[in-house]
């Protein structure tokens, strides 16, 4: 089915998922620039994305990409520590940064007249970062504290880490973004600077500006700021061991006295948009919706409504990734239901879909939902900028973003059934059990 034939409740509605007019160009030093005009409010979102994430951490140095993200706020030869944040705050701006498996990004939101100022600051720290042991040491404590807060006190997060490391037996996606505790403890100034020099270059970065600006203005400002950074030659190469096809079903179980609410998850090794054959990742996206959608998905209908073995179900697909990725389905049992039994019911719901396929109505609903989500994302400057940044940082193009809604429309019921048969296979699966440790 093509976009034009897609049934729509309101014939006068705009084309589903059609995004704004986006410009994409490169500076002479190799920096890629994306401009997304949005004139609804006099604010701009400025983001710089680096094509490196935790999966690029050297062996034995897990957590360095994330640690460096923290250290990027520690000052440069032009602006001492704290000045960056002070200036952004003085301009009334908001800022933050995040590290994922495949990329690291920094962003600020400011009134549009201050765009040049934040570009100046961000360009400065792309090449002039200064690190001393006096700032590195306390920041390591901050990261250790962050790990304690996010993982060490949370059995659910610990199970998540165990499922990931069982699912990725060889690829670094199996290592947590924040790093393992014992390796974070040993990270130092030299590790951070080495990583910085390798990856923080104009050739490896993508500038995304969304907001009340035009491409020409952004181009002129970018040339005056980022344009001054000299090219380093080629973009750095990501060297990652690839995950083989796995053959064994694996189960990890975590028992902790702190658990009040047991849960079950099934993780599957699946292609990402970057590694998939044409149409394959789109089918997995639709499949995830059909199974995992809140209140209308198959899992909800089978496990919550019909069999009454679960109080909640869901699913997610980490589709935007450089290498092979994962799809996760989960269910929260009703009191008294054993996780083994819940897993059987969940697997039966998948088998039913593989055997009998999906009906046109649920297919259409899943597509509508997926495309609607992208339209809603366009309501927010920041989420719009994130879609472009994450796609480009994982090997996609601006065209891929624009084409995505029509690619989703093309997914057929048979594509979904085939995707389920091929990828939701026990040999590609790790199940994770979170249970209360009653003995402790």
């Amino acid at each position: 089915m093509t976009a034009a034939e897609a049934p729509s409740a309101d014939p006068s509605a705009p084309v589903r998922g059609e995004g704004p007019q986006v410009s994409d160009f490169k500076l002479a030093n190799g920096l890629e620039v994306v401009v997304i005009p949005d004139h609804r409010t006099p604010v701009v979102t400025h983001m710089i994305w680096y094509r490196n994430g935790s999966a690029d951490d050297p062996i034995g140095k897990s957590g360095i990409a994330h640690f460096l993200e923290h250290l990027m706020f520690k000052g440069t030869s032009n602006h001492p520590q704290g000045e960056f944040s002070n200036i952004v705050a003085e301009l009334g701006g908001q800022e933050n940064a995040f590290t994922s498996l495949d990329y690291t990004a920094y962003y600020q939101r400011v009134a549009k007249e201050h765009l040049g100022a934040v570009m100046d600051l961000e360009a400065d720290r792309m090449s002039n970062l200064v690190l001393s042991d006096e700032v590195v040491d306390p920041e390591r404590d901050v990261v250790l504290e962050e790990r304690r807060m996010r993982v060490e006190t949370d059995p659910g997060a610990q199970l998540g880490e165990s499922v990931a490391s069982a699912l990725f037996t060889h690829h670094p996606y199996g290592i947590p973004i924040i790093g393992w505790m014992h390796e974070i403890e040993s990270l130092g100034r030299a590790d951070a600077l080495e990583f910085y020099k390798r990856f923080y270059t104009p050739e490896n970065a993508i500038l995304v500006v969304a907001g009340d600006v035009e491409a020409d203005e952004v181009k002129a400002l970018a040339e005056k700021t980022y344009g001054r950074i000299s090219a380093r030659g080629d973009a750095p190469v990501r060297r990652r061991p690839q995950e083989p096809d796995t053959r064994a079903y694996r189960r990890v179980s975590l028992a902790d006295p702190k658990v009040e609410q047991p849960s079950l998850q099934l993780g599957f090794l699946v292609p990402s948009y970057t590694t998939a054959q044409p149409g394959e990742a789109e089918a997995i996206d639709v499949l995830t919706q059909i199974l995992g959608a809140h209140a209308t998905g198959r899992l909800h209908r089978r496990l919550v409504m019909d069999k009454r073995v679960a109080v909640g179900t869901g699913g997610w697909y980490q589709s935007t990734a450089v290498d092979r990725s994962r799809l996760v389905l989960y269910a929260v049992p009703r009191p008294g239901v054993a996780l083994e039994d819940l897993e059987k019911d969940l697997v039966a719901a998948i088998a039913e879909l593989v055997e009998k396929g999906v009906d046109e109505k649920e297919l259409e609903r899943a597509k509508t939902r997926l495309i609607a989500d992208t339209v809603y994302a366009q309501d927010s400057q920041a989420s719009l900028a994130r879609i472009y940044g994450s796609t480009l940082a994982t090997g996609g193009t601006v065209r891929d973003v624009a084409r995505w809604p029509s690619d989703i429309e093309k997914v057929s019921a048979d594509d979904v059934r085939r995707a389920a048969a091929q990828w939701l296979d026990a040999r590609r699966c790790v199940s994770g059990y979170l249970v209360k440790d009653e003995a402790a």
Partner: protein, 438 residues
């Protein structure tokens, strides 16, 4: 390197308030809309001035359970019909319960506003409260309570509200307790709905691709059965203060330190907001710079002011390891005292600027705008123009900030902590440490 421009004037953009229209229906229900051109989506919802604090004895958790049950079927629609109808048009249906408000809202593509009003009015005026669905939904809420117990930084906030208000309804847990949730029946839900969901306390708000007159016409027909008499006022919220600690075997200690804040009707509430911003509002704030950046004592630390209709609380949250607990508390208290006694002009100017920009950001989204208008109408009976808020923030002086901070610190502290907190400073020493500031 160019010095960044530091212009202090902020352009607020073309005033949009003229696009805002309010109509009051015969039963007191108000309809507020803003038509935003160039927006393909619309957001529409019903906001009710009833929440956790309106629950009576034995009803704890009822406001929230009711919100859950609203989607579980009406006389005309099954639970699945409700979501399927909204999904068929690419919509998104959601709800929220807080201390003083409950809201039900829909985001839609294009202009399916009549369908949204049909469904929202249906779930609020003709809910089925089917026994089987209620049983299942109680299971969902009990699971939420369990999940919340698994999250110490949520537990510490629940304890904070309970302790700050001495167990009064305003400080009770939104989810209720397993016992009170299990005790609810279709009858108790109908009683609460009938008692609290009254016209003068309800607002239908819509923003985006919407037409005011059409929304008013549709709403007046569909919400005609809602009663017009104002419900009784809830128990007054009186800040008490206190100390409550739960020793648990965790990797991290979570703490909230708080004081009496003020109501959003108080003229001081913006000044307190400014103080919170400079103390712990972002990466340039004192707590962030001193406790995290300089000393590496924690990952997360922030302060916030939470105003209600008749009271408010000011609080600081921090989480740290057991070994650092000894250093953490005195440093935090020093930071707080120093900020209250000697805030600088520069900090106040920066905080004001940040608050003003945060007023603008996010307003490109119809959902945020509808929510903001509804909140304003429930609280002030009108939508506050952005210029008026900006003028109020501009008018705040350094002395205002010092004065409100001093008043706040003079109230009895509330300390709540969860985790390995045996070594946490005792209440007497905390009060003594703060004493010289008051």
């Amino acid at each position: 390197m160019n010095a960044p421009s530091r212009s202090k004037d902020l352009k607020i953009g073309a005033p949009r308030e003229e696009a805002v229209r309010i109509t009051t229906l015969p039963n007191g229900l108000r309809v507020v809309t803003e038509t935003i051109p160039a927006l393909a989506t619309a957001s529409l919802g019903v906001w009710i001035g009833a929440g956790t604090r309106h629950e009576r004895e034995g009803e704890q958790g009822l406001a929230h359970l009711l919100e859950h049950m609203a989607f579980k079927g009406t006389r005309r629609r099954s639970a699945l019909d409700i979501v399927a109808e909204i999904e068929a048009v690419g919509g998104d249906l959601n709800a929220e319960t807080s201390v003083e408000r409950t809201s039900y809202y829909v985001r839609l593509l294009g202009e399916d506003v009549p369908l949204a009003l049909d469904i929202l009015s249906d779930i609020l005026t003709e809910p089925a409260f089917d026994k089987g669905e209620l049983k299942r939904e109680k299971g969902v809420v009990l699971q939420e309570i369990g999940a919340c117990e698994d999250t110490p930084d949520e537990v510490v906030f629940d304890m904070f509200m309970e302790t700050a208000y001495g167990g009064a309804p305003i400080g009770r847990r939104i989810l209720g307790t397993p016992k009170t949730v299990r005790a609810q029946t279709p009858e108790s839900m109908r009683t609460f709905l009938d008692r609290q969901y009254r016209g003068p306390d309800m607002v239908v708000a819509a923003a985006g691709a919407v037409d005011h007159d059409a929304v008013v016409e549709e709403a007046s027909r569909r919400f005609a059965s809602i009663k017009g008499e104002q419900p009784g006022a809830p128990v007054e919220g009186v800040y008490a203060g206190g100390d409550e600690r739960k020793i648990r075997k965790l990797e991290q200690a979570h703490m909230v330190l708080g004081f009496a804040g003020c109501s959003f009707h108080s003229p001081d509430h913006y000044a307190l907001h400014v103080f919170s911003n400079l103390l712990g509002g972002g990466m340039s704030s004192r707590l962030f710079q001193e406790i995290r950046e300089k000393r590496g004592l924690c990952y997360e630390i922030y302060s916030f002011h939470q105003p209600f209709s008749d009271t408010g609380t000011f609080a600081i949250y921090g989480g740290t390891g057991e070994d650092k607990l000894g250093e953490f508390m005195p440093v935090m208290l020093d930071c707080l005292r120093e900020a209250a006694e000697r805030p600088t002009d520069e900090e106040v100017a920066r905080a004001k600027q940040q608050i003003k920009v945060s007023l603008l950001t996010g307003l490109e989204s119809s959902a945020r705008r509808a929510e903001q208008m509804a909140r304003h109408v429930l609280a002030f009976g009108r939508v506050l123009p952005r210029e008026e808020i900006v003028a109020a923030i501009d008018a705040i002086t350094l002395d205002d900030v010092k004065r409100v901070a001093r008043t706040m610190l003079a109230s009895a502290p509330t300390v709540t902590a969860v985790g390995p907190v045996r070594k946490l400073m005792d209440p007497g020493r905390i009060a003594a440490h703060l004493g010289s500031a008051a």
